[in-house]
Symmetry: C2
Subunit: 185 residues, 2 copies
């Protein structure tokens, strides 16, 4: 019942944070977040404690969404090897998006020099999940060294994101895909 016709302030804050933290960086002001979310100042502090709490919550949510994106990208094919190669095709499309600005998690890590900041726990968790996902796929295709290969694929993914974010016109996904094919053999 009461299917909540429109999302509440908590949801709106998370959505606004996800968008603004990505496009502007973690330094966006609280005022901008409140305005974008159309939410009262008080609601932010009631729901998340402080700005850092919102940042961590946004990363937590984005992490789940991004992992789902990876799963979806893999689902483009059924054969294990084709699944992983297809991932790089999808990455190539992703980084070509006009407002692509690189990996949310690495950007967050760079924003907070203090290693005790709660955001780092979220970015670490994301990377571990991504690594586990890659290992799972590699094991499914019977790779001889899944751990090592996963690290190499991860390196190719990060490289693709950075090059995609900093250089226009390139197709880093294609370059990475060629190298990924080597890793898989």
């Amino acid at each position: 019942m009461t299917p909540r016709t429109s999302p509440g302030p908590r949801e709106r804050l998370l959505a606004a944070g996800q968008q603004l933290f990505y496009s502007q960086g973690a330094s966006v002001g609280v005022d901008a977040l409140l305005k974008e979310a159309n939410v009262a100042r008080r609601s932010l502090y009631e729901h998340f404690g402080d700005k850092d709490g919102l940042i961590a919550a946004v990363l937590h949510r984005a992490s789940a969404e991004d992992l789902a994106w990876y799963e979806n990208a893999l689902a483009g094919a059924t054969e294990p090897r084709a699944r992983l190669l297809g991932l790089f095709d999808r990455l190539d499309e992703l980084v070509a998006t006009p407002d692509f600005r690189g990996c949310r998690y690495f950007a967050t890590d760079l924003s907070f020099a203090d290693p005790a900041h709660p955001a780092h726990a979220e970015t670490d968790a994301f990377r571990r999940s991504l690594h586990a996902l890659l290992v799972r796929e590699l094991e499914a295709m019977g790779h001889a060294h899944p751990e090592r290969a996963a690290e190499q694929l991860h390196l190719l993914i990060e490289g693709t994101l950075v090059v995609g974010a900093t250089q226009d016109g390139h197709h880093p996904g294609r370059a990475a895909r060629d190298l990924a094919a080597v890793v898989l053999d």
Copy 2:
């Protein structure tokens, strides 16, 4: 003459900026910079106009130093192929440094959402120089597709830096070196 026994305020500001912008990010306060450089407030604004001017100048200087680092890393061998592979060995050592925090230029790009910020011109220039350096080496070894191979090597370098900055205990330089060997053939 007057070999300037100790570096002047300009040099001290550049050195302090190079260190603090890297370790703390571009958001370090002017006060911290002045204190670290042991320089009067006024000197900063006389020499660099404003904080952004210092940021650009620091990047300009770091760019030259970092390119020299790449040249030096290549100089570990004479045979063209060994030169490029040796670069990844040096990168592997670099990212293992305890205070390594990733690529200065990518971090800077992420810090300034405004594409008109003067820092972006410096990071672009650095990347172009690095690309040219890679192309030069690939041509020297008679590679069939120097431009394409340079993009792949660049991707491997960026991936190495990101993984090195975010995951401890890994040896991304080794993983990248294996893949670089494939690129070179």
